[in-house]
Symmetry: D2
Subunit: 440 residues, 4 copies
């Protein structure tokens, strides 16, 4: 029984633990309010005009910006920089605001409400993760060449990880290989779903390759900087997401045909690719999940709005059949998800990415699936309009559905969470490490 | 208790009822085999070529067929006509094969396996329903003018029912109005999701209008034949379905701006629009559902295929985690749905569309929702490829998801089914009518 | 694609297959009608009185019948025998009616409506399976000694299979052992959940034992007839089912302490226990499932009745919130389950138990889980009364919930069904055996 | 859009709000630790002995304690009182510890781990609610007569609210009536599911009656103190809960036959019964939900333990099929529920019961349903043992299932939550009141 009591409550070892304080810091509140204001005052009007410019371009090259679009975007970015809303994603860094993950999580849920908001403030994926990587492991020369223009918002970047023919949830599956020939790495292989690589503004690909086939499984991979215009980098096409190509951003299919880059383009060192990839994972997943909650809020908002503005059989839709309960369940689920992602963010702040990883897996397994369900119900409330281009719902669904596959499919996250419960019971973890992992 | 026994089993009053014989008729078997063969030998190779011609047409008018496409399609149609595989959808008619709904249901599940199969044999929606309407209620002149070329596959048609601003699950909500001015009906209003109206080959719109605002609710609507090229018929654009526009077929948004058609274009008579719409509903919903089962079979097939051809963590995906159970549940659900749709088809054969309507509502409420779930699981098994253009799954999902909204959203069908159970208990139905509705 | 088509449709190879004719035979209809009448006229009044006699017996030995109860039961049995409603469960046998599984399935769903109906007509589990076993594999002496009084309804029997300490879904796990010492088998071990063994009328235990530890896994087990009053047979107690002990029937925990029975009590021969157990499985599972559908019908009936007879917030419960849809889904699910179990029964008739086994696994995996859900919703509609002794719902729930664990838990049935899909795709089954297994 | 933004986020108006600090207070931590220690050191050994004494009492009066049981219980109570662990449930009161709802929520989850823990520390339902009512609205004489012995743990009490023939989720449905005749209230009516009223130690029933049929709906009810031994108080019997009678505590069916009590037994005043009932609701529901989370923890603990200690098909159960994912989902759900109930408790502390009521409805709608699901999965992992008396799971399931009906069925709570979302959108609430309700 003692054993039972001990193992039953690892998630709540001490109720007064700082992990249970989910308040935003006083320090970050002004920034949070500022970002909200900036989205309403600057981003929303800009993005409406931007979208308008993108319409009715039949026959145009979808992989170039429409005339005037870039001016709008750069204008908003300049304004953001002027107002000091720039690069605040960078944690604990000279270059950033030093926001905690918890503080950033609150802000990310606001950023999730307009798809252009992040980029206006230079806080958009995949650049955030890439900048973080460069900042932590880049050499001074690498920083000067790539981090600086990224931090200035002059160029964009992509992260070339996923491969077509191998389950990328298993990092050891990297097949794209790089061989050192003379002073150059010669890269051959094929990647796909490389988000953002379609844009003419994307200049650099942080590329995961296999350099050391004879090393232990987690030491075989390396990360190399590959300028997108290097000869041999072939953009095969764009992978669609529920029929959307997301041009000009794009999720590109890329072949590396004898691509040669200088030896110095290696990040950190041979065989350290897997190690670097861990840097990106935690915060990125949390940011995605927090934006997902913004999406769920929007879907619930649209669902209720439609429900009170449309009638059938003499009643408002919202009051028909099971709709009140559907709305109630969506609200409950959203609040539960929000608390979970805030707790995961706080866990990262207090315990560090590694020790908090179970929390990150939990929210990644939980949130996109639930948000898909809520958006789906909002679609149903809208009838055929719900799947059309006249509401944002179909697009939102496609995005959240894709999140259930990106950064590890749901199943892998459940495997990690379930395994940790089982192994704890099996006693494979000693009390000390258990306390570390599950502390609070 | 007696009461309980009686009311508990309306669906199974007599176990030897013909409704429980779900075998295809011996008469229809050769046609069924022929259709299957034709799809493999003619349709599949043709559609592969057709699709190829449609690729890489950047800048071309998506609302025209690509060069060569129509030749391919017409070739297959000619071959089908030659082989006698033509118009067999028409029930109990001189012009058709006189297939029962049950026989047709079996064939429809084969047609569901290639999206072009139906059109090759002149059995595709919405023309099937439109031809059935014309055949039953058209005047000789209307038949000569529109039914004949439709039966010959020379033109196509659309059914203009759904309105933008009113819940179309409530048929009384028709707002598009037609006024008799002199010898002409003058039509004003707005319709959307008019499937097939985008094609240059679509020539006629069977249009639901409000002609008699002072009549009782179900006598206010009429159906009128509107040639698509009539002045005032404005194609506003195409409604998307999860970012697909289905060009050149399309789901069009149409405005009727003082559109004038001759008085004789009225079908059957003023105020009889609702009555005509009932003719279309039963069989059409069954056909959709049977094709949905074909889609579910295909999704399960792809799911298992992927599951046995891809490995992660040293095991085939199919054997990982809960995947075996997911596959099992999909198979069980498919067989249950198949039996239900066959039973509904048989009920229509034995009882007639009206008396069998609860069965039709049951399958329409049950099947698209379940098939969406199965396709979604197939997507998950494929990882990112599942949402891409490289598997048919995202497209299939979009189609089935849309079916949950078309021909009445799920909720309306559940309302009818649940209400019939409640009213039976409340005694609002006498035993005789109860027997009729639920006989078997 | 050919491959896809072939492997995608194994469940529907030929639409005119007799497997799709789910009608009861004309021959069986009079029996079916007779059974229904007998339940209403004889069983229902008798069981009401029987139940009354069982009340308020505080302090009495629950494991004996209450005074008068046995007289009532025997009276009904005598009447059934007189009317010729006796032992009709036995398939294709001189002693029985020669009902097909399909015919019996229809009748079983009627038997499911009163828990005493089966016993009145000598068709109740576990005796049916035990009689079938004895009839097929018993020696003349064994038949004379045990089958005859069972067929006459003079005694009852139990089937001692499940063991406390081993997963019984894996038949190889039998630990109770029997050793041949001289002319006697000496049995030692422990069984539990031996249904019916609590009754003073239960005289014989068909007991699965391990006799041949060195044989191949499926040849190690044997079945032996153990009279309940043999010295060493210790009834340890009754296993509860959601706090019910089902006295005096009971689900008994039994220890075998050096229990000695004559060598001739072995059934069929050493090492053939597993083979015999297969005889019991198919039909028994089908009968359970068909009775489950009777239970679901009853639950839906009670749910709707309560829904129309109780008001809250000025409306009948049935019309509040999502209740109409809950009722609709229950009806749809019931019809789908009914068709599935009929199809499984027919498959057993046409293909034989072995070839039809996937169908049996499918219905066993599908039905109890769904019926639990429907009963649970009926409970919810009744408020606190739903869990009380004043409706039959809590008892029904407990029974169906237990069925999800008996005769193999849901998971094992899903494993078999999913595995057959996967192996078919993997090509482990050749076309001929595939056709056999999945024919229809 | 502004409107959308404003209405979409009422649950997160200010991230630095104290509502987001879910830490237990430093002040309460020693009590929390003390309670945990007391349960392990005193309650667990005592309850094991207590349970043992209750076994094998065939023929005994189940509505009396077994010999020795009360001594054990009173011994533990005396020890708790001595250690100062007494009555700490009382919020902000001289008599209690002044624990906040949040602090108490943490402690309640520990109390939930042993069903006798609460009573040992005089913190068990329904007495807690009753004492709170007496403390707040009782006259000095009423307090002296009933509150004092309750606070001392000398007697117990019941709360007679629910009626047999009326939906008690609608408080206006009270039919039991009390008429003032001379100096006495004369009470007639029928109540059921009066928990705790079976115990010989229960001395007083706080009874909801209808006194003022002509007043507005919420002013018709009153609460009256009815000593259980008053002539005319007839205990009809015990309502079962999934076949359990919970004797001697019991959920009693009680008739009031011309029961006469002095005029002074009225609480607070005529027509104020509904008002008093609100006092009880908030904290009680939260305590139930927090104990439910303790139950879910225990179920998960048992599920995993069984999963690692039993094998089938050569593998530990926990690793078979979808079990890892089931375990993962249970853990995620538990953490999400825990955070929700902590937040609801904190909301009550910061906003008051009335303003925080949506949070209370949310957790009451969310938690018992989910906990039922987790316990059900634990049952499945245990096979037949899961429904037997040899694991606590069937009993736990029955309790949680009943919670879905008690204090308002799930549907009513969803109705309140969904309605608040809809009304907010409809603008029926002004911003100020919205802020109050949803503040944080």
């Amino acid at each position: 029984m003692d054993q039972a009591v001990k193992t039953a409550s690892p998630f709540l070892l001490s109720p007064d633990d700082p992990l249970n304080d989910l308040r935003m810091s006083a320090k970050a509140m002004p920034l949070y309010e500022h970002v909200k204001r900036f989205i309403v005052e600057v981003v929303n009007p800009m993005s409406a005009k931007y979208e308008e410019l993108g319409k009715n371009r039949h026959g145009a090259d979808r992989w170039q910006y429409a005339p005037g679009q870039l001016d709008l975007l750069e204008g908003a970015k300049a304004e953001a920089k002027k107002q000091g809303l720039w690069n605040f994603f960078l944690p604990d860094a000279e270059t950033g605001e030093g926001l905690s993950n918890l503080d950033y999580a609150y802000i990310a849920s606001e950023l999730g409400k307009n798809p252009m908001a992040s980029e206006c403030m230079n806080c958009s994926a995949p650049d955030t993760g890439n900048m973080e990587v460069l900042e932590r492991v880049g050499t001074p020369a690498q920083k000067e060449r790539w981090l600086k223009p990224l931090l200035n918002g002059e160029i964009r970047s992509a992260y070339a990880m996923t491969e077509l023919h191998h389950a990328s949830s298993d990092a050891k599956n990297v097949a794209t290989k790089a061989e050192l020939i003379g002073d150059e790495w010669v890269i051959n292989g094929e990647k796909h779903y490389i988000s953002g690589a379609g844009s003419p503004r994307c200049k650099i690909l942080i590329t995961m390759v296999r350099t050391s086939p004879d090393a232990p499984p987690h030491k075989q991979q390396s990360m190399i900087l590959v300028p997108k215009d290097t000869p041999g980098v072939e953009i095969v096409g764009a992978q669609h997401v529920f029929a959307e190509d997301h041009a000009p951003h794009g999720h590109m299919h890329i072949r590396f045909n004898n691509v040669r880059v200088p030896k110095d383009n290696m990040l950190l060192g041979e065989g350290r690719g897997f190690e670097i990839s861990q840097v990106r994972l935690g915060p990125g997943r949390i940011h995605h999940c927090m934006r997902s909650i913004g999406a769920a809020e929007k879907a619930l908002d649209l669902m209720v709005k439609r429900g009170v503005s449309r009638e059938a059989f003499g009643k408002k839709l919202a009051w028909l059949g099971g709709n009140v309960e559907i709305i109630s369940r969506a609200r409950i689920e959203i609040e539960a998800m929000r608390l979970m992602v805030l707790k995961a963010a706080k866990a990262m702040d207090v315990l560090g990415n590694r020790e908090a990883r179970i929390w990150v897996h939990m929210v990644k397994a939980m949130i996109p699936e639930q948000v898909c369900k809520i958006i789906d119900q909002a679609i149903q409330m809208h009838g055929a309009l719900g799947v059309s281009q006249h509401t944002p719902l179909a697009h939102m669904y496609a995005q959240q559905r894709t999140l259930r596959l990106a950064d590890g499919p749901d199943e892998v996250h459940h495997l990690v969470v379930g395994r940790s419960e089982i192994q704890r019971m099996e006693g494979n973890m000693d009390d000390a490490s258990m306390l570390q992992v599950f502390r609070n």
